[in-house]
Symmetry: C4
Subunit: 124 residues, 4 copies
């Protein structure tokens, strides 16, 4: 199904990538993700800005989500213009050229059993 | 009480069924659920489409929620047109013929103690 | 501060009280809560209806939240018209006579380490 | 990027700082946080009021978030007009002079493995 669902501006006020991990492989690496659904039949181009507590924002990070695809973007994987430091408070704002839906998830595996959080992001 | 509460279009951008589980019985099987409340006095008919990161969407899955009932739909249980693969990123869009309320929950029991996440889905 | 913040109709589509618990005392009993903030300077009177997957809704449960107070209502504690069965899927709808804010939380202590989920409820 | 994103009034109906903790250092202290993103190019001034179940609200707590910064405010750290008691139900309302985005997070480390919850707050 091709649908114009979502909004073009999203914010996630919480952001923190735990600095270490327990458990086997990439799936248990402590991480934060922005799950981005692009249900349109055209590619989505997003610009992501990261805000910190004590320094200037960094960005834009450029993200592309193909038509009718989802991208579970790990903040850990961002490289350009610079990686996000671990163990650091941040927030994020996404601006897209077509409507998308964004949900925030963290997997924290610093202790023996992992912990999860998730919430729909704030849309404007 | 009979109420027209909710919306007809819902999206869940996060989706991931952990590939394994710890703990006794169905209640501790790692799963994702869409909890669908139909508070109307007429049956709700929903069409669910699943979006992936690297292939065409699959659907529609057809879901019925009786009048004045809730359905805690496990994505793990979907069969037609095809099961959702485990350990795979996805997103979902629900289109209903009457207003409903949808909330997303995951139980992850891959490690010794389970982890939970939940969020209200995105409504349009 | 006295503020008219919130909405009068709220729904929580997810509902499930785990059937057992680990850990000392009331604070570690597996439970679900609806946290209700009444920031008004008048008492809030709510009617709560519980929806099930396979039987008629039950209610109304009558709930009072004093002016400028919060009530973290445990579904486990509901008695009249009848307790909510453990280990059972349900949903809930709240109708208030003044605006309130409702957030849903579950503590699941069935395994050695507890798990938490929370989300803002759906407002209409 | 400088953006006017967010709302000026936010509420978090859930509030509870667990009374004890496991794990090393400040990062594993059981805590609740309100993550506040101020994406504007002017400083944000917020007034926070805390509501309880059985006594008068306390506040305002005065909070400043610099322009284009995020503040992950731990409720545990609030001092003036008075600290928030541990193990106590509360709710919070934030009023800002410029639009901000607020997300609620709890880390509960009372048991061997920590638990997390998070949700976007309620905006008005």
């Amino acid at each position: 199904m091709n649908m114009e669902i979502g909004k073009k501006i999203w914010a996630i006020a919480e952001g923190y990538i735990p600095a270490w991990s327990n458990g086997p492989g990439r799936e248990f690496v402590s991480h934060e993700a922005a799950c981005i659904l692009n249900a349109n039949d055209t590619e989505a181009h997003l610009q992501l800005t990261i805000y910190f507590s004590d320094k200037e924002p960094v960005g834009p990070y450029k993200i592309t989500v193909p038509a009718k695809r989802t991208l579970h973007l790990r903040f850990n994987d961002l490289k350009e213009p610079q990686p996000i430091p671990l163990g650091t408070d941040y927030s994020s704002v996404f601006v897209s050229d077509v409507p998308v839906v964004i949900q925030h998830t963290r997997l924290d595996s610093r202790q023996d059993a992992n912990a999860l959080l998730s919430t729909i992001a704030f849309a404007q």
